[in-house]
Structures are given as C-alpha cells and as structure tokens.
C-alpha cells in the first residue's frame, strides 16, 4: 500500500483548515465550499478504504508506521480494523452532513469552518491512531475546537456549557494519560504501540487500578453516569452541526477507547469491573430514558436519549467482559450489539439533532409546549422526525433495533436481572418518543408558524442519506457485522471467552 490513505483522511481537513485561514473573511461562500470539499475528500477516501478493506481478516490493515520520538518509543502509527472502519464511515458521513448543516452560519464563519475542520482531523485521528501518544494527541486535539465551537456559536448558556465540557473531558483525559504511562512502564517494552502493549500480561491487582484511571477518562466522554452532566449542557447549547458531531462521533470516542484500549490491554481487570460496568450501563439506560421523558426542551430530550443509548453499548461491553468461557457465543453477540449500537446511534441521533435544528431555525423555540400540530405545518419535516424517532426507539427494520436486540439477547444469559431491568428502559424510550410526537406533531396547528416553509433542499440533502443508511443497516446488518466480526472475535477471545 503505497498511498498513505489514513494520513490523507486525517490531514486533508487540517489542510482545508489552514487554507481557510488564508481566505479573506468576506468570501463567505469560498470558505464554506473549502470546508465542504475537504470533508468530502476525506469521506471519499473513507469510501475507497471501505472498498479496499479485506473483510474476514483479523488484525490491523492499512498500517502506516514512522518513527516520531524514538527515544521514548513513540511512533506515528496508524491502522484500522473493522471497528475503526465502521466509525470512520460514520465520521465521514456525519462530517459532510455537518458541513452542509453549517451553511447558515454567518457570524464569524471563517473561524467557524477553520475550527470545524480541525475538529474533523481530531475525530478521524482518534479512530486510526494505534500509538498511545498519537491517540492522546488526537483525543485532546478534539477539545480545543469543540470548546470554541460551542463557546462562540452556541446558545444562550454557551460559555458555561463550553467550559464545563472542556474541564470534564480534560480532567478525564489527563487521568487516562497517567494510566497509559503506567501501562507503558509496567510492560517495560519501551513502546507505545497499542497492539504490542495489548499482548503483554500485566499483574491482575495492578490492572484493576489502571482500569479505573482509563475508565474515568473514557467514561467522561461516553458519558457514563455519573460523569454525564456535561452532556445535556453541551448538546443543548452547541450549534446544530456541532451537536450532530458531538452525539454522532464524539461520544463514540469514549466507547471506541474501551474496545481498542481498556478491554484488550487489561482483560483481567475487565472481568472484575464487569458488574460495575453493567450497573452503570443500566443506570444510563433507565435513568437516561426517564430524564428524557421529563424534558420540555426538544433538544435536551434528544441529548438525554443519547445517554440512554450509550447505556446499551456499555451493557453489551459489560456482558462480553463478564462472559468467561461458558458464554462465548453470548459474549460475541453482546459485543457485536455494542459495536453496532455505536454506529446506529450515530445515525439516529445525528438525524434527530439535524431535525431539531431545522425546526429551531424556523420557530426559534425548542420548547415542546410551544410546538404542536407540526404534521400540518411542516409535513415533510414531520415525516422525517417520526422516522428518526422510530429509528431511535428501536423499531424493527431500522438500525437501532438490530443493535439493541443483539445487546439484550447476548447479555441475557450473563446478566439476567440487568437485562430484564434494561428492557424497561426500552419501554421508557418508546414512551418519551411517542409522547414527544404526540405533543409536537399532533394537536392544534399553530397559526404563528403558518407562513414558515417546510424543510428546504439543503436540509433534505442532510436528512435523506441518514434515512437511507438507517434503513439499509436495519435490514442488512451483515454488511457491518461482517466488517467488524474478525476484530470482535479476537476481542472476545482475548477477554477469555473462547
């Protein structure tokens, strides 16, 4: 492989960002075009990667290796397996859509798009980095543009939301760094190569503590209860496109890190941690759904639904962590569901945030008490909203169903009680979405919104691809399952399940 395709995917947005800084700020259109083209190029490379990916092959593909700080064993090391590829596809899709959804940004658009592209570089980088230091660099890189994007272009409480997000994540990630360094020194291998460090055996008691450090870093990002309080603030205040990326991609960085780092490197600690993991995942599911039900603000409701959905990822992971040799098949199913949920939630939550943005642009409110009868006012928009809500609540035939079904099915033999409790979360999820639809879509038509146009072509361009993807991945799960399978089999084996 001569073409450094992963490097291109990661750094094309950065190049676009630098290019934007050279364009005079008056040329708003050019700036937006550069941003869109940059995200499109990266997405096209991801698509190409998808066609070239060797399915069924375990281990890393498309690896790129260069020395960076040899005296410490830090490398510029990138590579992907099926799990990273699925998230790259998600990132590629959502960054393009987010660039389109940002088209109505007029306030300081130059800075906005420069930061937006910087954010894209960080997100792609996290999913391809195989060196701990490189991983950490991208992980932290995401923070700075995100802080400004929320802080400058966000809603009324943007400053509070931005700094809260920043401090929570930074505190988590520096503790994670301590954990990473502890692994580095404990192994004594003098390398930061994740795959090499994952081969090493670590003392069991020691693993427990390091898992704790890593857990805090990752759990803040997911976010897992009780580290979740930054999320509703950040999601609600962020501009639409940024909420899409936050929910669609950024949350996955946390769960991805469990897949890539914590589980394979510290499998013994993972087994010990599984019950705690499961309980917290369960809290996410039930508590997230109940809090979502209590919201008046449409966007806040969608934000809490993310907490609910990420709970399934955690529960699926917990089941695989606890499984042991007796439950290999169940563990495999649960972890597949967890990985699938990352993808499915990216699609559905991205769609819902886009839809909330569309209606907010028109009515300038997200208060469900002030929205009603929108089936009549915005029929096209309303259809998409209903679809998005069904996708999110796990209607069979749509992508979310596959994920949650796999998780619950796989986790059942391992955590019977938890799964039974978690199914109550399913009911609550369905309930708050149906209540939302009743309040927002049905009821009395409001005259003040009468003159407002329905979703325009640009907005439809952002919604239609997601709709199609949600259906495709709802009826043909094998596309994604086959892609991720070898990596997941390997992970389950590593966790002692085979």
């Amino acid at each position: 492989m001569s073409l450094p395709i992963l490097t291109l995917i990661v750094f094309v947005p950065l190049a676009g960002s630098l290019l934007i800084t050279l364009v005079p700020r008056e040329q708003d259109k050019t700036i937006k075009q550069i941003a869109l083209v940059a995200t499109l190029i990266s997405a096209a490379f991801v698509a190409y990667l998808w066609t070239q990916f060797r399915f069924g092959e375990p281990g890393m593909q498309f690896t790129e290796r260069a020395s960076w700080i040899p005296s410490l064993g830090v490398q510029y090391l990138m590579g992907i397996d099926g799990i990273s590829l699925s998230l790259l596809i998600l990132t590629g899709l959502l960054t393009v859509l987010a660039a389109l959804a940002s088209w109505n940004i007029t306030h300081r658009s130059k800075e906005y798009f420069a930061l937006f592209l910087l954010l894209c570089t960080g997100m792609y980088g996290v999913f391809v980095a195989l060196d701990y230091v490189l991983f950490y660099v991208f992980w932290e890189l995401v923070l700075v543009p995100m802080f400004f994007l929320i802080g400058i272009w966000g809603g009324p409480r943007r400053e509070y939301a931005a700094i809260k997000f920043f401090i929570y994540t930074l505190a988590g990630s520096v503790l994670m760094l301590v954990g990473i360094l502890a692994i580095y020194f404990q192994s004594g291998l003098g390398t930061f190569d994740m795959t090499v460090l994952a081969q090493h055996k670590y003392p069991v008691a020691w693993q427990w503590w390091i898992f704790l450090l890593l857990y805090v870093g990752f759990a803040v990002k997911v976010p897992v209860f009780p580290f979740h309080t930054w999320l509703p603030d950040a999601h609600v205040e962020a501009p639409t496109a940024i909420s899409v990326l936050l929910a669609g991609v950024l949350l996955k960085m946390g769960t991805y890190a469990f897949f890539r780092i914590a589980l394979p490197t510290l499998p013994d600690a993972a087994r010990a941690w599984a019950p705690i993991f499961a309980v917290l995942g369960l809290i996410n599911i039930v508590y997230g759904a109940l809090v979502a039900m209590a919201q008046q603000d449409l966007k806040k409701m969608v934000a809490y639904s993310s907490i609910n959905h990420m709970g399934y990822v955690m529960l699926g992971l917990a089941a695989a962590m606890a499984a042991g040799p007796g439950h290999a098949a169940a563990a495999k199913l649960a972890i597949t569901g967890a990985a699938y949920q990352m993808f499915a939630h990216g699609l559905s939550s991205g769609m819902l945030f886009l839809l909330v943005g569309v209606v907010y642009d028109r009515t300038h409110t997200r208060d469900m008490n002030k929205l009603s009868g929108l089936y009549l006012t915005f029929p096209v928009w309303a259809t998409f909203l209903a679809f998005g809500a069904f996708a999110s609540l796990g209607l069979p035939g749509l992508s979310g169903f596959i994920a949650e079904f796999f998780v619950l099915l796989g986790a059942f033999p391992i955590f019977k009680v938890f799964v039974i409790l978690a199914t109550s979360g399913l009911v609550f999820t369905a309930a708050f979405y149906l209540m939302m639809m009743r309040r927002v879509l049905m009821g009395q038509k409001r005259p003040e919104y009468d003159q407002m146009p329905d979703a325009n072509p640009r907005e439809l361009t952002t919604l239609v691809p997601l709709t199609i993807m949600i259906i495709i991945f709802g009826v043909a799960p094998s596309i994604l399952v086959n892609m991720m399978n070898p990596a997941l089999v390997q992970l389950v084996a590593k966790l002692g399940g085979m």
Partner: protein, 473 residues
C-alpha cells in the same frame, strides 16, 4: 584558553559597560540605538558560545564547567535576553525614566544567570544569583514615579535579601561539614556516611528554602505576585522566565548532581514544594483579575510542575526539566509580548481589558491561544510534551501521587487561562478599533508561537540534544 570559554560573559559585560557610559554621555533624546546594541550584544554572545560546543572541561580552578549543560542554558538565556530586549524597546521608550541603564541591568542579570548555570562551585553560583538579584531589584523598581513599582522593588528586595541570607547560611553549614564548596568535590565526598546528621538536614532545608524563594515556590512565593504586578511589564516578562530558568539550572547542578548521595534528604522536600506550589498556584490564580498577577500564580504553578522533576531526580526527569524550561521560555516570552502590547497601548492589565481582542488583533489573539493551550499542556504544543515528560518520569520512578496531582492541576489551570480566552473570543470589544502590533513585539509573538508549535510537534531533535547535554545519565 580559559577566557575563550567565557567569551559570552565577557562580551555581555563589555557591551553593558560601554552602554552604561553611553547612556550617561549621550543625550536622552538620541539613545534610540541602545536597544539595538543590546540585542546585538546578546546575539554576539550567542555566537561566542560556539567555541565551547562539544568541549568538556573545568576552568578557573574547577569553579566553572565547560559542558553541554552550560552551553544549553547559555543559549536559552541569551535568547531570553534578545526576546526581552525586543519586547522592551517600545514600552521603555515611552517611560519618563527611560534610559540606557535598563538595558545595562538586563545584560548584567543575564550574565548572572549564565554564571549560575555554568558554575560548579556553590560560592560562584551564589555570586551569580546575587548578580541576577541585584539587577532584578532595580529593574522591579524601574518606574520610579509609580508607587506600585516601588512596592514591588522593596518587597522583592527584602524577601530576596532574606532568601540570600538563608541560602548562604545553608552553604556555610554544608561547608562546615565537608570542608569544600566545590560541587565536583562534593560529588566525590562520601555523602552516605554523613547522611544521618541533623545539622545536614538543616543545611538542606536552608538551601532548598533559599532557592525556593528565588524561583518562587510556595510557601516562599509571597513576593512574586506583587513584584510581577508592580514591575514594568517587560521586566515581569523577564522575571517569569529568566531568573527562574537560571534557578532551575543551578538546582540541577547542586541537588541531583552535587548532592546525589543525600537524595533521601531533599527529594521529599521538593516533592512537597512541588505539590503545594502547583495546587496553591493554580487555585489562587483562579481568583485573579489582573493578568500580571494571574501570570505570577501561573508561573508558581508551572515551577511546581517542573519541581516534580527535581523530586524524582532521575536521568529522565532532569531531561524533562530541561525540555520544560526550553518550552516554557518561549511560551511565556510570547505571552508577555501580548501583555506588554496591551499595557503599552494603554488598554490595560485587567483580564476584562482583553474583551474582543480576537476581533481587534486576530493573529495576536490566536497566538495567545496557542500559548495558553501550551500552558495547559494540550498536544501539538511544546507544553504537552513538557508536561508529558515530567509525567513520564514521575510515573516511572513511582511518584504516582505527584503525577495524579499534576493531572488534576492541569484541569484546574484551565479555569483561569480560560478566563482570558473567553474575554478575547467570546466577549464583544468595548472599543472595536483594531490594535496594531509593532514589528518588535510581533517578532517576539511569532518566534514564541512558532517555537511553541515546532518544539511541540518535532520534539525528537530537541530531546536528542537534551539527552546529549544532560549532566545526569
């Protein structure tokens, strides 16, 4: 031959003396050439470091070392001299009391710093320290008409004098024990044999306290916020990088090398000072409204992070300190260029005065973000690897608690750096007129930003250099 190796010092002193005479003889109105000559003097001294590169010897009766470590710090200090001179020119020209003495004092202070880093005798280090301190006292009070500047000078002088006495007392105790003040002899001295003595503990305590004062470690930091706030802003810039870097260089010469055998006595002292300094520095910085005071506490916290390296005192941690100093000098020089700019333009020193700066001076504000990001320790800047290496060394040597405390403190520090960034980017300017950046300050900003990014991304060559010149293996 010995004199060839101290050519940089000789050039500095010679230029300083010439300028001293010139500033007395030449009309006040025609002294515009002095900053340029000062910068040229620093540059010439930097070139004069060249003959010593690659040499390894001890000169002047083994008082002065000719080694990579000394050259490394000489170059850094001379770069500090150039940056501070560039940053001072505009500001000082506007002061009523302006005169060539300012630059003369600056050159003497840098000479003192060089002596501190290259001496291997406790008395010579002390002399260097006093040279830096004397010049610094006067520099702090340079704005004679300003009561705050006077207060800064007096506080700094009184505290500094006590610290010098404490240090000297510690040295005398050490001398009484060992019969030598030469670090090379001390290294060979059978230190383990005497490590039980209580008097030696007292000596260690006074040595650490004396240096603690000079580099402003909590609880010896009281003078710093006042001195930082009251001193003319370019002098504050100098204080935040110059004397601190020199103090650290001397500390490395004295403790991990000279008194390695007594690590059991002083390691814990440094660990405590590091822990307290970073925590108190960061927490106090949170409440500051004046950016110079904020930066005073920020630098107390930063020195706290660096001091972890002294507590750990391994080959890796000493390299980490050197890397940190290298990174920190450029970060703070750049940052202060900005503070000087706003002060010079009469915009102010309060954090609220930075409102809307991203629209008034976009490039300068962006550079400032780079510096803050570096001080927090976020990747793609030198500050990340600086902290990372300190971290690494602490985890490696089992100082896990210090590493975790450093992690927590990094998160706390976001709070106050954020205040300035928020003002610059999220608040509307009171006065939207653009702020022009004069070329000399622009040069400092640009150098600082480029160095911060370059050292942060391509850290390997710098690490290799530091590995080469590090005195601890």
């Amino acid at each position: 031959m010995d004199y060839l190796y101290i050519l940089p010092e000789l050039i500095l002193v010679a230029v300083a003396l010439v300028l001293l005479v010139a500033s007395a003889v030449v009309d006040k109105g025609r002294q515009g050439f002095i900053p340029a000559v000062t910068a040229a003097g620093f540059l010439a001294a930097m070139v004069a470091v060249y003959p010593a590169i690659g040499q390894q010897s001890s000169i002047f009766g083994r008082m002065v070392a000719v080694d990579g470590f000394a050259q490394f710090f000489k170059v850094i200090f001379l770069a500090v001299g150039i940056l501070v001179t560039l940053a001072s020119a505009g500001y000082m020209a506007k002061q009523e009391t302006s005169g060539g003495e300012y630059y003369v004092l600056l050159m003497f202070a840098v000479t003192g710093m060089i002596i501190m880093a290259s001496s291997t005798d406790l008395l010579a280090i002390w002399l260097g320290l006093e040279l830096v301190s004397m010049a610094s006292y006067v520099l702090a009070g340079y704005r004679r008409e300003d009561p705050k500047s006077n207060e800064a000078a007096i506080k700094y002088f009184l505290m500094g004098a006590i610290a010098s006495a404490a240090l000297l007392f510690g040295l005398s105790l050490l001398y009484g024990f060992t019969g030598t003040t030469n670090l090379l002899d001390l290294t060979n001295y059978e230190q383990k044999a005497m490590s039980g003595s209580a008097v030696l503990r007292v000596a260690m305590f006074f040595l650490v306290a004396g240096f603690g004062f000079k580099v402003a470690l909590v609880p010896f930091h009281m003078w710093a916020p006042d001195a930082y706030e009251g001193a003319p802003t370019p002098v504050t810039a100098f204080f935040s990088i110059g004397p601190k870097a020199a103090g650290l260089a001397a500390l490395i010469r004295i403790f991990p090398i000279g008194l390695a055998g007594l690590a059991g006595h002083w390691s814990i002292l440094f660990a405590i000072l590091a822990a307290v300094s970073m925590t108190v520095g960061n927490l106090t910085a949170l409440g500051q409204k004046n950016i110079k005071r904020m930066m005073a506490y920020s630098s107390i916290a930063q020195i706290g992070y660096i001091t972890i390296g002294l507590a750990v005192s391994s080959a890796r941690s000493i390299e980490a300190i050197m890397y940190y100093v290298l990174a920190y000098v450029f970060i703070n020089a750049g940052l202060f260029a900005m503070i000087i700019l706003l002060d010079e333009r009469g915009i102010g020193q309060k954090i609220e005065d930075y409102a809307g700066l991203s629209q008034r001076a976009p490039m300068a504000a962006a550079a400032m973000v780079v510096f803050f990001v570096a001080l927090i320790g976020i990747p793609f800047t030198s500050g990340f690897f600086a902290k990372f290496f300190i971290f690494t060394s602490a985890v490696e040597s089992g100082f896990m608690w210090l590493a975790i405390l450093l992690a927590v403190n990094s998160a706390i520090s976001v709070g106050y750096y954020y205040g300035v960034v928020r003002a610059m980017y999220l608040e509307a300017p009171k006065d939207p007129s653009p702020v022009k950046v004069p070329p000399s300050l622009g040069a400092v900003l640009l150098t600082g930003a480029l160095a911060t990014l370059a050292i942060g991304i391509f850290s390997e060559p710098f690490l290799r250099l530091i590995g080469l010149v590090s005195p601890v293996r």
